[in-house]
Symmetry: C2
Subunit: 339 residues, 2 copies
Amino acid sequence: MIIVSSKDVAKLAGCSQSTVSRVLNRPETVHPDKREKVLQAIEALQYKPNIAARSLVAKRTNTIALISGTLRNDYFAESTDRIVEYASKHGYRTMVYFESEGSLGDILAQIKSYKVDGILISCMKLDDPHYEAFAASGIPCIWFNRRHRRGGHYVSMDNVLAAKMLTRHLLDLGHRRIAYLSGPLDISTLYERWTGFEAVMREASVPVRESYVHILEPNDQAVQKLTWKLMHQPEPPTAIVCGNDELAIASMDALLSMGLRIPADVSIAGFDDIRMSGHQAIQLTSVGQHRFDMGEVAAEHLMMLIEAKDGQEQPSIQFLCKPELFVRRSTGVARTEKN
Amino acid sequence: MIIVSSKDVAKLAGCSQSTVSRVLNRPETVHPDKREKVLQAIEALQYKPNIAARSLVAKRTNTIALISGTLRNDYFAESTDRIVEYASKHGYRTMVYFESEGSLGDILAQIKSYKVDGILISCMKLDDPHYEAFAASGIPCIWFNRRHRRGGHYVSMDNVLAAKMLTRHLLDLGHRRIAYLSGPLDISTLYERWTGFEAVMREASVPVRESYVHILEPNDQAVQKLTWKLMHQPEPPTAIVCGNDELAIASMDALLSMGLRIPADVSIAGFDDIRMSGHQAIQLTSVGQHRFDMGEVAAEHLMMLIEAKDGQEQPSIQFLCKPELFVRRSTGVARTEKN
DNA sequence: CTGAAAGCGCTTACAG
DNA sequence: CTGAAAGCGCTTACAG
């Protein structure tokens, strides 16, 4: 592939390389006639400035890194979509990394090599030891969705409150045998949700039975298996709270396969209010935020951090937005006890 | 942010910059003792080579561009996930672009600036005028999912056949009043599916009524509105074929809102066999490919093209894989005529 | 308003 | 096995 450089443009336009560069960066500083000639040469040669060379000297790449949970979880698909679009609209490219690609340490090493201007992370564990490395990298970072215990800049939801709202909703419907299905609790969102659930259950003096609680790896097989196990005990739960909608929808799949009716036989609910939860065939009760995309808000503030970088001191960014409960058909009055 | 360069490493290790570079690129060519010292210095300084500088001289970036349809369509979420992971595993970074970000011309301009090693495109229109520019860019390109009329390297499904299989399935169930809901027909997949549908209907001498066919912009509102319109005519269809599962699931949402039962009142089916289609609450009949991810196959071959680049002539990559029909509960015997 | 020159951080012949 | 030097394509003071 032949690379057209600014030197080639300069030759054709009959000027110096510096002038070509100026036309690109501060066109008002070059004489209109000359500018026109350069523009024509650029067009004629289909010249595109080499970003690598530019960022080498400019010390900025106009690129941000997004480290996201898997797109198989709709929550991350939605936020990734929004972030990439938002960044693009504001002149930034997004390099997307998924947690499945390797340890955060390896990913950070790569990111550092690319000299991105900023980092968005939605999938760091609550006590992930790599936190320090990110914080010390000198690259502006914002955590969204999942937080780290140390704090830092973050945009998240009040997940404790969210879980309390959801749990009270189920108690209000008369449920007492409530099960809890969750992914690993070393993740802030899942941990906080569990905490909120437990707190309300304790307040209400409703015991949380051990056989009703399952912490699992979030894949369809595990959900299938544990849902089955949950419902095949002597006294099965009348309601299931899932750590997020993705899990809830998978569990719902299992419940329906078993011939159970929702909510007649068992109620189910989740968190995040992903798009599918509102579908008529799903109608999953969920708690999330309406009209507030954490990813986009995080991107917006990341750009502020990047641009204010050399200026005055950095503001501290800590958003904990209020959740909303969306009651749908998947939760109903507790089935009359009759086991 | 302080940038540690290979010069700093050289100073600490007491050697030249070239040696540092050699340790990184061809460690076997430097004396073990010296190599060890350099490695220690790299570790001590937390040195990460600057990718921009490297690609400037190496004339390759180990980066591919993926231009994808929106992640709001699960098909694209699934393929993006796979591609990024596959590329990562093989030493390539992926820059993700979405068609919504601007014209393909603008996106190509950006991509050229980044000097990516290869391009994967899943969202080009059948007669998109930018095709030439991509083909002439000198950058290896593979089209997957949607094809361009000119061909080029592509990985796709036999969509005509897919539509024929699906249509015959509905005819076999006794349906004669079959509606067709599709996104724009300037997209190969949608165009070919429509073609296959029409061909089978003609063969079977079943007229395709004009009021049963709607071409729409694929957003929830449009689907909602047209589904409503479809079912509120004097003789509503007994089955609806949708151009893809995303549309079908949205239309299903509308049907259920209207109080219709699937498939008792109306059957519905789609294409792509996305993950959600298999969910017990959805059970959408669909035609797609099992165990064959076009995105991943495309990525695999793109890397072959990139690596064979300077070698012998390029092979022509043209995959048209066979579809499979997944019959689920959303299609059933045609309702007894009684309008 | 414009050009020559230095330099960003790297790799790769070229000598030795 | 190793270092000095040239060069990748750009931007940005510095003179004029």
